[in-house]
Amino acid sequence: MAQTGFGRRYFKAFVSGFFVAVPVTVTVLDRLAYVARVEGASMQPSLNPDGESSPDVVLLNRWSVRNYQVQRGDIVSVLSPKDPQQKIIKRVIGIEGDFIKTLGYKNRYVRVPDGHLWIEGDHHGHSFDSNTFGAVSLGLVHGRASHIIWPPSRWQRIKPSVSPERRPLLNWDGATEDGYDD
């Protein structure tokens, strides 16, 4: 008798804990932040500088992109437009209205359409990015990588940065940058 009472109490506690823990966890992962391991070499040298031997783990902040506000230079995680099950992590090169000089895309210069982003990996030529599939819609943005949390020696905040040669030709604080004759 005491056995069944204990079992029932245990079961009740388990169920009530389950109904608290699972929805709270899912909501936190959906709304606030979650962690993900970076795979592949497309973001070298910012992420995964040592290749596959020690993959970086990043904190993806979902709260900061809830209004779809993204800056140039941010590293964002995007649902792949080619495969909805896959997420890709790239750097934002251009936001809507920017004129971008592309690397190997079919048009040499592209204006990023409204509500879209131009994203590229830092490792040019080894990255499956906007130079392959074009600008991506802002609605696909999933999170912004804000910290590297593993390995511990690389623990740091990720600051937005764009290399000078990848800045947009127009719309960069109103200033124009050209002089890249080719």
């Binding site: 709270v24 409204d114 609605g139």
Partner: protein, 187 residues
């Protein structure tokens, strides 16, 4: 006395958080009631119809041709659009009018469904039930689903025709062409 008040407050906050999280999970992963405005889906969905959109088939990638879906607009992520899926990846879609002499065709790129091709990942849910108010009673019935034999008569995109899986090649993924398709679709 203060201690009792404190405990009550804490438990109230705890229950609020718990039920808020349960509601979030239900809305985000199972489905929710939405209301649609605008004439673009008449006569299937008229202005301010309320219907239930489920998200399970989107998570499982079970969206098919003929389904009515809710998707984020590719040009304004805060806006949702409600459209019928005309073509899936690999389909060939005719973008010219029925009276045009030259038919222009375009392929739907991989991972996209065709409403002026949009990425699959922008789809939020599939419209599943329509709720109607008839003489103050609520009545639910299912929408006509997946009318595969009537693919050519969609009210929304009269200029779109789908040929089934003629080719798996994808040739377009240019935002300008998408924009062009949008303009054709909205004509």
């Amino acid at each position: 006395m203060f201690r009792g008040f404190f405990v009550k407050t804490i438990s109230f906050v705890g229950y609020t958080v718990q039920y808020g999280c349960i509601a979030h999970c239900a809305f985000e992963h199972i489905g929710k009631f939405v209301s649609c405005s605008g004439p673009s889906m008449e006569p299937t969905i008229t202005n301010h119809n309320v219907f239930f959109s489920e998200r399970v088939s989107r998570h499982l990638c079970r969206i098919q041709k003929g389904d009515i879906v809710i998707a984020k607009s590719p040009f304004d992520p805060k806006m949702n659009i409600c459209k019928r899926v005309i073509g899936l990846e690999g389909d060939k879609v005719c973008t010219s009018g029925p009276s045009d002499v030259f038919k222009t065709h375009t392929y739907v790129p991989r991972g996209h469904v065709c409403y002026g091709p949009i990425p699959y990942a922008l789809i939020r849910g599939r419209v599943f039930l329509k709720v109607m108010r008839i003489q103050s009673h609520f009545l639910t019935y299912t929408l006509p689903q997946r009318p595969n034999h009537k693919l050519f008569e969609f009210e929304l995109l009269p200029f779109y025709v789908v040929f089934f899986n003629e080719s798996q090649t994808s040739s377009i993924n240019d935002p300008f062409l998408i924009l062009l398709l949008f303009e054709i679709a909205n004509k």
